[in-house]
């Protein structure tokens, strides 16, 4: 049985993309999750995957060709060998009678992933959309995520990215009533601990302070669900999972924040590996669609060469962003004495529709406490 591989929708604002590269040749086996091609979008180059085992068939478009979402890109063979149903393309005209029939479970998932029911084909009675239909669409759709970088020389690059950032940040400032809090956190212990930890390790196993920040934020968020999740038309939808978007600046301008999934559950080492891998691929332009799942919160850390503090702008539909300025030795009163301590100024910008400054303050205080015990992170 053969089927068509179609241009996936990676975001509700994506209309088309340009094929940069086929990663598989006709006759090659494709395992679920294999990258089949790289496409250029207005948000940059993205690797696109297959969702079922198959065999690469005849390509239907050529490198350099720009096709709309849903357009056939290649034939796939062997679907159905152990696979019940091929992924059905998420294109179907809306039902004539207005509201689409859809099961509650299907509606919930569709809403959570920002998938319009009108685009789906229902496999249930009288065309009702079932959970399975939405799950298929979710697999075919990367969530709206911060931007992958411009990869060099495609021409779409910087301008499109700037445009996307502009749209997101304008929406944020227009719609989200931010509140801002800031707190100086003593990093002396964490710095010492990290130094001692790294001293014994080769460079590829060393950990950056940024990883501690991400882990500490993720762990602290467990107790502050109102800061972790999404605003959906004014309703807060908390997220059980904590996916931390790690803001990464792109030289020459631009910014991405790919997610470190379940950051609260990762040991520091693996978390650092993920972070390292993400940054490397931000530089190379190799972020994969599946890595662009919505972060549930963003952490922005200025590193060692920045300024004291940053006031973040929330990336919609998230509801909070945590910023870390540059850690440095500053005078601090400890037990009545002015003592030099390594301090970092942590800031929180959060959506006032869904949380209040009191809770935000508690969050920063807990975060500070967490960072006093770096060995527990």
């Amino acid at each position: 049985m053969s089927d068509l591989y179609r241009m996936p929708s990676l975001g509700s604002d994506m209309e088309s993309a340009t094929l940069i590269e086929w990663c598989k040749q006709p006759g090659e086996r494709l395992a679920k999750d294999d990258v089949i091609a790289v496409v250029e979008t207005q948000k940059g180059a993205i690797e696109i995957e297959v969702f079922h085992d198959a065999v690469m068939g005849k390509p239907l478009i050529e490198v350099g060709e720009t096709v709309p979402v849903g357009a056939a890109m290649a034939e796939l063979e062997g679907i159905g060998d152990g696979i019940e149903q091929a992924p059905s393309p998420p294109v179907e005209p809306p039902a004539p009678s207005g509201r689409r029939r859809a099961s509650p479970a299907a509606r919930r998932l569709a809403e959570a992933r920002g998938i319009g029911l009108e685009r789906l084909r229902g496999s249930g009675p009288e065309g009702a959309i079932r959970l399975e239909d939405v799950q298929r669409a979710v697999q075919a759709q990367a969530p709206k995520a911060p931007l992958p970088p411009d990869s060099k020389g495609t021409g779409l690059g910087m301008a499109a990215m700037r445009q996307a950032i502009a749209a997101a940040m304008s929406r944020s400032k227009r719609e989200i009533p931010h509140y801002y809090l800031s707190h100086d956190i003593d990093l002396t212990r964490a710095t010492q601990w990290l130094g001692a930890h790294n001293a014994e390790l080769p460079p590829d196993r060393r950990i950056l302070m940024a990883a501690l920040f991400i882990k500490a934020v993720a762990l602290t968020l467990r107790k502050f669900p109102e800061l972790n999740g999404f605003d959906r038309d004014g309703q807060f939808e908390p997220s059980k999972a904590i996916h931390v978007g790690s803001a990464t600046a792109i030289r020459g301008g631009g910014l991405v924040a790919p997610a470190i999934h379940d950051a609260d559950q990762l040991e520091l080492g693996p978390l650092m590996d993920k972070l390292r891998d993400l940054v490397a691929r931000v530089r190379r332009g190799g972020l994969r669609a599946s890595e662009l799942s919505d972060p549930t919160v963003t952490v922005s850390s200025l590193g060692e060469r920045g300024v004291d503090r940053l006031y973040g702008v929330i990336y919609p539909p998230q509801v909070a962003i945590v910023g870390f300025g540059t850690p440095e030795l500053r005078p601090r009163v400890v037990e009545g004495e002015i003592t030099p301590r390594t301090l970092v100024t942590a800031t929180l910008a959060a959506d006032h529709r869904h949380s209040d400054g009191h809770r935000g303050g508690l969050f920063l205080a807990k975060l500070a406490a967490r960072l006093q015990e770096p060995e527990t992170l």
């Binding site: 099961s103 509650p104 959970l131």
Partner: protein, 329 residues
């Protein structure tokens, strides 16, 4: 398994439960119509009269209201009575005592009086006993705050629920489906008390939840087997305790499977199946991927002829069909 297993029947398991209770606690006595010399309408108490004597295996006149009320009074007076009512249809003559007294006295007395009473009764169809001995009115009882309602289906529950029920300070009504009495199987020789709260997942599955209890459990398990042969993974939930209902187990299952069919021998209108369905709508609506299905008895007094009785009741093939319907298959 370390415990010695014995081959036994549901009836014997119930009897052993009663015998345990009589031996363990001098306050326990069994009272009802023909429980003594006759040995019980369904022979559950056979032999106990000889063993424990007429005081503790107490035959009563045909006066359900009187002896059920006496059971309530005796419970308040410090005894632990087991009142046997031959069949749920007869229990309607005692409904006043159960609903107006057993279920209310603790509350109306501001907590001063407890009714540690157990009422056992047979229920259900399948023995061609027609419309005055075959009904499933568990749902009526499960409607009443102040009493607990149990439906043991397995040998373990038949043996162990009575024990726990007698230790409960409040009235407990136990429904024994007539088609289960002859069911045999292996039971640990030292099988002991079981909890009288909480549903049991009798079979784990992922595609849909089949919710049932009592006489329909084994039909449902058989249906689940047939579904498995068609690559449909059904989870089978035995409610066990009809009041209070174990919402958590139900919702956990539905959250996993997204589909539910309730199978019960009641009439559909105003049934416990309706209650379970409503709770799923209330608590698990957004998990549902198909309307909740119900398979109940046809809305007719149970007829006498076998073929009509069979046609009225939920059967394995109908359970399979109902399951497939919610799966759109």
């Amino acid at each position: 398994m370390s415990a010695e297993m014995i081959q036994t029947s549901y009836r014997e398991a119930l009897r052993e439960g009663i015998r345990d209770a009589l031996k363990r606690d001098a306050r326990v006595f069994l009272m009802g119509e023909d429980v003594g010399r006759y040995g019980g309408c369904y022979a559950v108490s056979k032999g106990l009269y000889d063993e424990f004597g007429p005081e503790r295996i107490r035959d009563t006149p045909l006066s359900e209201c009187g002896f059920t009320g006496a059971g309530i009074g005796a419970a308040m007076g410090g005894m632990r009575p087991i009142v046997e009512i031959m069949t749920v249809n007869f229990s309607l003559l005692a409904l006043d005592q159960i609903v107006n007294n057993a279920a209310t006295l603790r509350h109306m007395s501001g907590g001063q009086f407890n009714i540690p009473l157990v009422i056992r009764m047979a229920c259900g169809a399948g023995k061609q006993l027609a419309a005055q001995h075959s009904h499933s009115l568990e749902g009526w009882y499960a409607h009443i705050p102040g009493i607990k309602v149990l439906a043991p289906a397995t040998l373990e529950d038949a043996r162990g629920m009575l024990w726990t029920a007698l230790e409960d300070p409040d009235p407990v009504v136990i429904f024994e489906h007539v088609m289960l009495y002859n069911r045999t199987g292996q039971l640990a020789a030292d099988a002991g008390p079981v909890p009288i709260e909480g549903a049991a997942v009798r079979l784990e599955g992922t595609d849909l939840s089949l919710v049932t209890y009592g006489g329909c459990l084994f039909k449902t398990l058989e249906a689940a087997g047939q579904l498995a042969a068609e690559d449909i993974s059904a989870e089978v939930i035995d409610l066990r305790c009809l009041r209070p209902l174990d919402d958590a187990t139900l919702m956990t299952s539905v959250a996993k499977t997204h589909r539910a069919v309730i199978i019960s021998e009641e009439w559909r209108s105003g049934s416990l199946a309706a209650e379970v369905s409503a709770r799923i709508m209330e608590q698990a609506f957004w998990d549902l991927d198909a309307p909740v299905g119900r398979l109940c008895t046809a809305e007719v007094p149970i007829p006498y002829p076998k073929h009509l009785e069979d046609a009225a009741l939920p059967q394995v093939s109908a359970i399979v069909d109902a399951a497939k319907a919610v799966l759109n298959r």
